[in-house]
């Protein structure tokens, strides 16, 4: 009885395979791309994480429980609070009420450190979508709803602890996400423009132009980046407004970042130039502009996306290192690197190890961007085995 079923199963399987194969042959490039990308499980997971990180960056004001600049010296290096779920209802039972607890604060007479002991009796109820400090969403309109926070405004609420000035580290890290991740994205777009133009010319024209551009790229890549970045950053006048500093740092990072993209674009152009369909189009009398835009570019997109994804983590690491050394972004701008400046003080981190939180964010962001870029690069050639 079982044999025939098995046979039909196999037949069904074969049929299915043929169908899939047929669909694959007829599928467009992006379908193939996605098909291959899905197989790289780590890359798919990374795509989700990167998406989440950019979501946080986009809605920083709403997601952060507090104003990142709000300070309160009473809560210098306050430890992270844990969320409790149930409270005594006074009649021996308990009821559901998410909360954090307040602190007993004592100042050590000798070291002047503040010593925080959780006070279970002081319950601070918390909730979702609570009214808190008002902010200007994207600098456009006023709002005061925060995703999470204490029901009563101005009660202490430090899920990731406090820093030197008693500012909420979680809120600061969330706002830092916006700056650090946008430096990566905007910086890469700048590198992309330079890299595409120079790499394209280099690969398409060949000859002397190609040789000159290649020498320039080799030279730039042989200069130790940090001393050069630092030199350029140090030359910035100290009285520039933060926004101008931000864009200067972007330009400085892109000055070197474009070389990798140019290399990828050039390599693809070189190999495409002698492809049959390109020669056919050229012999047909297609204009140069149309040849590049209509015929060559489509087979470049996925490679460029891969190169860009792999370039973003470099930008993020560079910005972090520069700001960490005090020559990149300056407070009051908050980026992960600026936040990590606080960890330079050994006394501070032994007292408040949660100052490492922005560092963990850097590692997670860079790791997932790297995996994502790897997945995209592997999928970029859907016709390879």
């Amino acid at each position: 009885m079982s044999a025939p079923t098995e046979a039909t199963d196999i037949e069904a399987g074969l049929l299915d395979q043929q169908l899939t194969a047929g669909r694959l042959q007829a599928a467009g490039q992006w379908t193939l791309f996605w098909h291959k990308f899905k197989k790289h499980k780590l890359a798919v997971l990374s795509l989700v994480i990167v998406g989440l990180i950019y979501f946080v960056a986009l809605f920083a004001e709403f997601l952060a429980p507090q104003d990142p600049a709000k300070f309160d010296p009473r809560f210098t290096y306050v430890p992270p609070q844990a969320i409790g779920w149930f409270v005594d209802d006074g009649a021996g039972g308990s009821r559901f009420q998410p909360h954090v607890t307040g602190f007993d604060i004592k100042v050590d007479a000798k070291s002047f450190r503040r010593i925080f002991t959780p006070k279970p009796s002081e319950i601070i109820p918390i909730g979702l979508f609570v009214k808190g400090q008002s902010y200007k969403m994207w600098g456009l309109f006023d709002a005061d709803i925060h995703l999470i926070g204490p029901l009563e405004k101005n009660k202490p609420f430090f899920l990731a602890g406090g820093d030197r000035l008693g500012r909420d580290l979680l809120s600061r890290t969330i706002h830092g996400t916006r700056i650090s991740m946008s430096i990566g994205l905007v910086g890469v777009s700048l590198s992309l423009i330079i890299g595409m133009i120079l790499g394209g010319i280099s690969g398409y024209r060949g000859g002397l132009v190609d040789r000159v551009i290649q020498r320039v790229i080799e030279f730039i890549r042989s200069v130790p980046t940090i001393p050069l970045w630092l030199g350029l950053a140090a030359a910035m006048p100290k009285d520039w407004p933060p926004l101008q500093v931000y864009f200067s740092i972007l330009v400085i990072l892109s000055l070197i970042g474009w070389t990798e993209i140019a290399r990828v674009v050039r390599g693809r152009f070189l190999s495409l130039r002698s492809e049959d369909f390109v020669i056919a189009a050229r012999l047909d009398g297609v204009s140069e502009f149309r040849l590049i835009m209509r015929h060559m570019m489509p087979s470049l997109y996925s490679h460029i996306i891969a190169a860009v994804t792999l370039a973003i983590p470099h930008m993020i690491l560079a910005e972090t290192a520069l700001s960490f050394l005090g020559l990149g972004l300056q407070p009051p701008i908050v980026s992960w690197g600026v936040l990590l400046q606080d960890t330079q003080n050994l006394r501070a981190i032994t007292q408040a190890p949660w100052l490492f939180v922005p560092g963990i964010c850097v590692v997670v962001a860079v790791l997932s961007l790297n995996f994502l870029g790897d997945g995209v690069r592997d999928a970029a050639d859907p016709y390879a085995k």
Binding site: P224, I349, V366
Partner: protein, 328 residues
């Protein structure tokens, strides 16, 4: 072979000139010039400014003349007299400040590079030969994690861990007792006990990417027909892999010096600031923060020179390992 090396050295000259122009550009970038900054500094400390001294300084650096003249005065001083200019912050010639520290930087960088190769080569080979084994996965996971961690963060975590759990501090390169002692076996040992931490911090990310490079190169080679042919002739597997595919895969691996060395020098700068090492890093950072530009320019020039020398060494190694390069 000698001709090849000479050709390579001749090829370095334009690169060195380009680096010197770059360094000079950085010197010129901040507004105001060296002498006015110097004069302002002296005036601030309440002393009178001797205009004869200022004029002789202006003459020496060619200030007030056009940029090209200034450049040639600067580079001329370096090439003919080894004079990098004065550091106005330290009030000393840059040369006196820089050589010892730059030497330490070079020592740490080269030691790290050697250790990186020593570790990544066998791990990379093993990872490729036993692809998808547990060891391969562990090595890959380590590589990705190490490449994602900024090295200054690793340094701080190590500092934190050693203070919290072992109660020792790990800064510096020598114990106070040996700092100014003459070279001896005990001093070298003291150096070793201190230097492994910066070397470890610096080398981790690079080792990780070198493992990836070696693994990818070797994987490309392992399935080529010549390997099959040697195997079918009954060559022992271990000897087969080491004699043929590894030798081919070694070439791109050696030429990675071109980008590993600049990355090491960059990383050294950051790590030495965190760990407070007596190397070029902290001094450069200080110089940049106070816009002490002749000092900073000298650093950029020298670190660029260091990279060129490293690339030359790797070119020579390549020529030794690959007859196609040596004989062409």
């Amino acid at each position: 072979m000698l001709l090849y090396i000479l050709k390579r050295i001749a090829g370095m000259v334009p690169a060195m000139v380009a680096i010197s122009i770059l360094a000079f550009t950085v010197i010129q970038l901040p507004p105001g010039d060296y002498v006015s900054t110097y004069a302002a500094q002296i005036a601030q400390s309440g002393e009178t400014v001797d205009s004869a001294v200022l004029n002789s300084l202006r003459e020496r650096y060619g200030l007030g003349e056009n940029v090209v003249v200034q450049y040639f005065k600067w580079i001329g001083g370096i090439v003919t007299r080894g004079d990098f200019g004065d550091s106005f912050e330290w009030n000393q010639p840059v040369t006196e400040l820089i050589w010892g520290r730059m030497g330490m930087t070079a020592l740490i960088s080269v030691l790290t590079l050697i250790l990186m190769w020593a570790f990544s080569l066998p791990i990379g080979i093993y990872s490729a030969v036993r692809q998808y084994s547990v060891t391969d996965y562990v090595a890959t996971a380590f590589a990705f994690l190490a490449m994602a961690t900024p090295n200054f963060l690793l340094a701080i975590v190590l500092l934190y861990a050693s203070t919290m759990w072992f109660g020792v501090s790990v800064g510096g390169l020598f114990s106070p007792a040996f700092e100014n002692a003459p070279l001896s076996l005990a001093k070298i040992w003291d150096f070793v006990t201190h230097a492994w931490i910066p070397i470890f911090v610096l080398g981790t990310a690079g080792t990780a990417s070198l493992i990836r490079v070696m693994r990818a190169n070797l994987l490309d080679e392992l399935h080529k027909p010549y390997v099959e042919a040697a195997r079918s002739k009954g060559m022992p597997e271990g000897r087969l892999i080491l004699t043929y595919p590894v030798r081919v895969a070694l070439n791109p691996f050696i030429s990675t010096v071109g980008w590993v060395l600049p990355a090491l020098i960059s990383g050294e700068l950051v790590v030495s600031t965190v760990l407070n090492l007596p190397t070029a890093g902290p001094l450069l950072l200080q110089a940049l923060k106070s816009q002490d530009m002749y000092l900073a320019g000298a650093f950029i020039l020298l670190s660029g020179g260091l990279v060129l020398i490293g690339t030359l060494v790797s070119d020579i190694l390549l020529a030794i390992s690959d007859p196609r390069i040596r004989l062409s």
